[in-house]
């Protein structure tokens, strides 16, 4: 795009934008606190209504639904928290690709933290169905799953933030296209919870990884078009 960016160097731009997001977050701790409260109260509601979940399928589905909804809450702030005028400022300052990569990175870090915490709280309160030997595999699915969810939601929230009704739009636009990723994740983590061998679910893990890469590639290609006003 325009070559006369004030900040030189692509990686410097990504780094500075990412660092700015993290600094803003740590200054007011708004998102993190509200999401933590959200996760904790949802898990508590589940605990009050189920008290114990003997069925692996239900346990697994409920965990991912909690993660999904808290991610929507977390990521929806990424584009709306900034006034539209600031986007013009960024436009002069940085490459749009650097901006979208920094947003995806920030949201991925946020969601990795969030999903690990949700899994922790959920397991402590409602009990864990993941055998200790499978914990590493489950964490792998949890991380690549959160990377996929965060990058998809980043792009969707970038689209939704340009419409009048951003919050409602994120779920309307995001959920249908999220489903392929989500079914694969739920399937993979169900198989892991069942305690079967790597060969049986490896194809799902590869599929999640492939979908992740596709979403990130699409975001990098398409975001510059969204951005120009």
């Amino acid at each position: 795009m325009n070559s006369s960016h004030t900040i030189q160097g692509f990686s410097t731009q990504v780094y500075m934008l990412l660092w700015k997001e993290i600094k803003i977050e740590f200054r007011n701790r708004n998102t993190l606190n509200s999401i933590l409260l959200y996760v904790f109260s949802t898990v508590f509601i589940c605990y009050q209504s189920f008290s114990v979940i003997p069925e692996v399928t239900v346990w697994n589905a409920l965990l991912w639904i909690i993660i999904l909804f808290s991610s929507v809450n977390a990521v929806s702030k990424s584009f709306q928290s900034e006034p539209p005028a600031r986007h013009y400022y960024y436009y002069q300052l940085v490459d749009p690709t650097a901006l979208v990569i920094s947003k995806i990175l920030y949201n991925a870090i946020l969601l990795l933290l969030l999903s690990a915490l949700s899994f922790g709280i959920y397991s402590i309160v409602l009990g864990s169905h993941i055998p200790i030997s499978q914990l590493a595999a489950f964490m792998l699915v949890l991380s690549i799953g959160s990377i996929g969810i965060s990058s998809l939601l980043t792009m969707v929230s970038a689209i939704a933030s340009r419409t009048g009704n951003a919050i409602g739009m994120i779920s309307v636009l995001g959920f249908p296209i999220m489903i392929p990723l989500l079914i694969t994740i739920i399937k993979a983590s169900k198989l892991i919870a069942d305690g079967i061998s790597w060969n049986q679910y490896a194809k799902y893990v590869y599929a999640i990884g492939g979908i992740d890469m596709m979403i990130i590639a699409l975001s990098v290609i398409l975001f510059p078009y969204l951005w120009r006003e």
Binding site: I159, R162, V172, P176, Y225, E229
Partner: protein, 218 residues
């Protein structure tokens, strides 16, 4: 007027293919029996839907390159027509599933994929309706269309292959091409795909003309 000659093709082809579908020669398979005649109606709908979604995608990509609103109209109208074929495809599929699998809807990756495809394109139209400004609407819709199409491709193309599916051509099942279809069936099948697609293009063209007249009279 001079470019209308192709409309003759689907009219003649349909006049031949529809009666053939009901009374023509078929190769009888186990379980399927006479329901294989639905091949001409159900499978062709999905082929046609995919072709029209691809046309819509190409127009969205062209819009991002050119910023001409015409490409955006084309993309949205082709998507709308494809959605119509998708609905008919789901309906004919339910009739078929009811007779062969015993229920109109089963929890199958292929069927879920079809339902989700419809949902994501409905979301595309919700997005279009929520924005007033033409250029902005066109740009956001084009981006979402490309995004949704690629994920839909994953959904319909890859996921049913790694899961178990009842549907032919998925989950290790052979597609109909592998069965010994009667030669006449095969050619009528391809003819039906062609003519349904041409009818889809025709419907989309009429809608685009209505849109153009509306925008001129306003």
């Amino acid at each position: 007027m001079k470019k209308n000659w192709w409309k003759i093709i689907p009219i003649i082809a349909m006049a031949y293919a529809i009666p053939f579908a009901f009374i023509g020669e078929i190769s009888v398979q186990t379980i399927l029996h006479e329901t294989i005649r639905n091949l001409y109606f159900h499978v062709t709908m999905w082929f046609c839907m995919m072709i029209l979604f691809i046309v819509s995608l190409v127009n969205s990509i062209r819009y991002l390159g050119s910023n001409k609103l015409l490409h955006d109209y084309l993309a949205s109208m082709y998507a709308k027509t494809a959605l119509l074929f998708g609905f008919i495809g789901i309906f004919t599929g339910m009739v078929w599933a009811n007779n062969t699998w015993g229920a109109p809807w089963v929890n199958d990756p292929q069927l879920n994929g079809a339902a989700i495809t419809i949902l994501s394109y409905l979301a595309y139209f919700v997005l279009r309706n929520s924005i007033k400004e033409e250029q902005k609407k066109a740009r956001l819709a084009a981006v979402y269309n490309i995004f949704a199409f690629v994920l839909m491709f994953v959904l319909l193309g890859i996921l049913p292959r790694i899961n178990d599916s009842l549907h032919p051509g998925k989950g290790g099942n052979p597609g109909f091409g592998k069965y010994d279809l009667a030669p006449a069936m095969r050619s009528v099948f391809y003819l039906s795909i062609l003519s349904w697609t041409l009818i889809g293009v025709w419907i989309a063209q009429i809608q685009i003309r209505i849109r153009q007249i509306q925008s001129k009279t306003q």
